[in-house]
């Protein structure tokens, strides 16, 4: 068997491979379930946003106070 014949046979057999439709259906269902995430993951992300928000407000207040000190009465 030449390399060319071998590769041709390999391609022929592997290209006939199919994914069963029930596997695809379960895959879509599980992937959609993962997409919405769990309650714990939502709580983590909510906490990160809250902390980022507080930090941003604190930085803003600090900037205003600094401005007033430099340019204020």
């Amino acid at each position: 068997m030449t390399n060319k014949e071998l590769v041709s046979e390999y391609k022929r057999v592997m290209n006939s491979f199919e994914i069963p439709s029930d596997v695809q259906a379960r895959l879509i269902s599980k992937s959609l379930g993962a997409f919405t995430g769990s309650d714990n993951e939502n709580k983590y992300f909510n906490a990160v946003i809250a902390v980022s928000g507080i930090a941003a407000v604190a930085a803003g207040i600090g900037a205003v106070k600094l401005f007033n000190r430099i340019f204020g009465d």
Binding site: L6, F17, E18, F35, G37, F45
Partner: protein
């Protein structure tokens, strides 16, 4: 993780599944599931394990939500994740299962091709993955090296060794095309 990224993922996580999300999942499955299932199936030699690996791969796609440059980038990422998941599964389960005729039939392989399919799945995983990516997906050795993280010379060597081993196995079986 910057604020914008977190907010983006947060929005996705708390929204109920809408048409856009459903369509994204369906498109990703349509584009990549056959290729990934074939890779997982041939690496793991087990129908159920292959399905588990495939599902884990897509769950990581949905939960990590990486930003892709283009479709090819997405495909390469999925292949890398799937092969790593399969490698980990093989590490914890070293025994090789034989595929049943039913399992082989379920994935569209005809009975007359069982011998050659068995010989292909009997190859070491490191040969199977490069052969699949090169001969079926059309990647060059250089592209494969980027995907699986070995240098291009090693990829070429694995292709050669894979061909030689498969040829020897088929000659032992007196395989006629």
């Amino acid at each position: 993780m910057d604020g914008f990224e977190v907010i983006t993922i947060e929005k996705r996580k708390t929204q109920s599944i809408g048409d856009t999300e459903q369509r994204y999942v369906e498109l990703a499955v349509e584009r990549h599931s056959k290729m990934l299932f074939r890779i997982c199936f041939s690496l793991l030699n087990n129908y159920d394990d292959a399905e588990d690996a495939l599902q884990d791969t897509f769950i990581r796609l949905m939960t990590k939500a990486p930003q892709f440059r283009d479709d090819e980038h997405e495909k390469a990422w999925l292949i890398r994740v799937a092969t790593n998941i399969c490698k980990n599964m093989l590490r914890f389960n070293r025994r090789r299962s034989s595929l049943s005729l039913d399992e082989i039939r379920e994935v569209g392989i005809s009975e007359s091709d069982t011998e050659i399919f068995d010989a292909i799945t009997a190859l070491p995983p490191k040969y199977k993955i490069v052969m699949d990516l090169h001969y079926i997906e059309g990647y060059t050795a250089s592209e494969i090296s980027q995907i699986i993280g070995v240098n291009a010379d090693a990829v070429r060597k694995r292709l050669q060794n894979g061909r030689n081993k498969l040829k020897a196995e088929l000659e032992n079986l007196n395989y006629d095309e």
